[in-house]
């Protein structure tokens, strides 16, 4: 795959990646930096696979599938790095969450990630488990906890 092809695939994801990063760190610049750092980490780690991959940009279906594949890959790195960074200023997050979302920022980072992936990015439980490399039951458990803390009641996640 050529560099420009990769850029054409990931550029439309910038908004979604930023939005996800912002759900981890509620600061414009920090969220943007988190997106860039995650992309850099992904490129360094997956460079060989990316360059080796055959890709025909005229094949729209393949492009769509590949974009989703890279989106998931980038979300994985973003989550890993984001959890570490948000842990550095937990107290700040609890007090300084943007108006109307303080409740959300009071949740532990991993729960915020799962809730965002499920209800904002609309990934299935299986896809979230794949992105975060955690078992399905752990995703369901975090969704339970997140829902309970945000809505104040439990409702089971029906199997997909």
């Amino acid at each position: 795959m050529k560099r420009n092809d990769l850029f054409q695939l990931v550029a439309p994801l910038s908004e979604k990646l930023y939005r996800f990063a912002y759900s981890l760190i509620p600061d414009d610049l920090q969220a943007e930096q988190l997106v860039i750092d995650s992309l850099n980490a992904y490129l360094i780690k997956e460079q060989k696979q990316i360059v080796k991959r055959d890709f025909d940009p005229r094949n729209k279906k393949e492009a769509q599938q590949l974009r989703r594949f890279y989106f998931k890959g980038l979300l994985k790195y973003l989550s890993d790095i984001g959890i570490r960074r948000s842990g550095q200023f937990t107290d700040h997050l609890k007090d300084m969450g943007p108006s109307g979302h303080a409740e959300f920022y009071r949740l532990e980072a991993k729960i915020r990630i799962v809730i965002s992936l499920r209800y904002d990015a609309r990934f299935s439980v299986e896809e979230i488990a794949e992105i975060l490399a955690i078992p399905r039951y752990e995703v369901i458990e975090k969704l339970h906890n997140g829902r309970f803390l945000l809505l104040g009641h439990h409702q089971p996640e029906a199997p997909l």
Partner: protein, 105 residues
């Protein structure tokens, strides 16, 4: 002998896949038809929709300005061109790679 699951239970399990758009066309139509005939299930679907809506509203929906998005995409482009090494497939491809590297300096 195992008794068959009541229809309501079967359809209750399909609420989330229905809301996620994960059902096939046939299952989707079948689910909607059943919901229309069953007020209990209809109420559960609505409650679930409201819950999802409420949760979605609690997630910060920060949007990038046009200028910030352009700046972020420029940085993404720079990262890709700096960190990925392309092997040239011939003389002209080598020139293209050099030209792209020059443009992205």
């Amino acid at each position: 002998m195992i008794a068959p699951a009541p229809m309501l239970k079967v359809f209750e399990k399909k609420i989330i896949p229905y809301l996620d758009g994960a059902l096939s066309k046939e299952e989707h139509a079948e689910f909607e038809a059943y919901v229309r005939t069953n007020p209990e299930l209809n109420a559960k679907v609505r409650a679930r929709q409201e819950e999802v809506q409420l949760l979605t509203e609690k997630i910060p929906a920060s949007v990038l300005s046009a200028a910030s998005r352009e700046a972020l995409e420029t940085e993404m482009r720079t990262s890709i061109f700096n960190l990925l090494r392309e092997e040239p497939e011939g003389l002209f491809d080598g020139l293209r790679i050099r030209w792209e590297e020059f443009r992205n300096r």
